[in-house]
């Protein structure tokens, strides 16, 4: 993955607008958070293969982290904290935010075909 370049990612988001797309959205602090640190509290959520179409998508932010919002007919998809991106070998737009140790904290991915189960 590469550091997000906002103009390029915006182009990739635009290229996938008004189409049927599949979304993987995820955030986590790890299943072991409270095992290693008793003060910590495990949180996490993921949606794999939400089948949607967005009329407008936008990436906002500067420097270290970015927010992405996708406006749907009847709602929104939102992710905060993405800092890296990649167009993978299947043409999917993968965005993610990692901590200093390389652990994933948030991911938003947009594909034109379903993600592998």
């Amino acid at each position: 993955m590469d550091t997000i370049k906002i103009d390029q990612v915006q182009k990739e988001i635009d290229a996938r607008a008004n189409k049927e797309v599949y979304i993987h959205l995820e955030t986590t602090n790890g299943a072991y958070a409270s095992h290693f640190n008793q003060e910590a509290y495990n949180v996490g959520a993921f949606i794999r293969n939400a089948n949607v179409s967005y009329a407008r998508g936008k990436i906002v932010g500067a420097g270290a982290t970015y927010r992405v919002g996708l406006k749907l007919d009847i709602g929104w998809i939102y992710a905060e904290g993405v800092n890296q991106y990649e167009i993978d070998d299947e043409g999917r737009l993968l965005m993610a935010g990692h901590d200093n140790e390389g652990r994933l904290m948030v991911a938003l991915q947009i594909g034109e075909k379903p993600f592998t189960y």
Partner: protein, 219 residues
């Protein structure tokens, strides 16, 4: 009855961190070991810095690491195809039946799995419970011994001392090789162990991982 050990854990690396010394000791005695690995750890978080993996490329990376670790340990591998983090939401009954089919075919004398309720990760708890249910479905005379592994912070307080304590010092080098085969996972985990124990990596790993303990399950 021909001795045969079946290891049942949900994630690639559970076998290496948890039981690879014990596995190696069995293999040195010529006893076959088969690993029923539930998932490919698809939802693992370590992507490296700089990143070497994405959410989508991680499963294949971990699959190759798993194959390598099983080569190091000289054990047979079956990948069961569940998805990381979802095992507790599958039908317990169906997962148990799935495992039961393997057990009926292999006819193991010993099954190693996680101790349900004391294994920290929900997948560990769910898969351990399904494994124990699967063994319970077997006819009494064919039923293997079960060694259940607890890893929660409180397990000794609640369960007492485990009755099986395998000092794996003699085969520790193999255990470390197996752990290192899971490169995407090992670096972070070993660093964490080192941080907590303030020792060099080999000493730290030996302190933390030098004994593999299990409870013999009472049916």
């Amino acid at each position: 009855m021909q001795e045969h050990v079946v290891v049942i854990y949900p994630h690639p690396d559970d076998e290496s961190f948890g039981a690879s010394g014990t596995i190696t000791s069995f293999r040195e005695k010529g006893i076959p070991v088969t690993y029923l690995c539930g998932t490919l750890g698809e939802m693992g978080r370590n992507m490296g810095n700089p990143t070497f993996a994405t959410r989508e490329s991680l499963p294949e990376i971990r699959k190759q690491e798993l194959i390598k670790a099983c080569d190091v340990l000289d054990m047979e591998l079956k990948m069961l195809g569940y998805r990381d983090k979802t095992l507790e939401f599958e039908s317990r009954e169906e997962v148990a039946k799935h495992l039961y089919q393997y057990l009926e075919e292999i006819e193991p004398t010993l099954v190693i799995t996680h101790y349900p309720g004391y294994a920290v990760h929900p997948d560990h708890d769910a898969f351990g419970a399904a494994a124990i249910q699967a063994v319970g479905m077997m006819a009494k005379e064919k039923r293997p011994t079960v060694w259940a592994q607890a890893i929660s912070r409180n397990y000794i307080d609640e369960l007492g001392e485990p009755d099986i304590l395998n000092d794996i010092g003699d085969v520790f080098a193999t255990k470390l090789d197996a752990i290192m085969a899971h490169k995407s996972q090992a670096d972070g985990m070993l660093a964490k162990i080192q941080e907590e124990t303030q020792e060099d990596i080999e000493t730290a790993a030996k302190t933390w991982l030098g004994i593999e303990s299990f409870y013999t399950w009472q049916f």
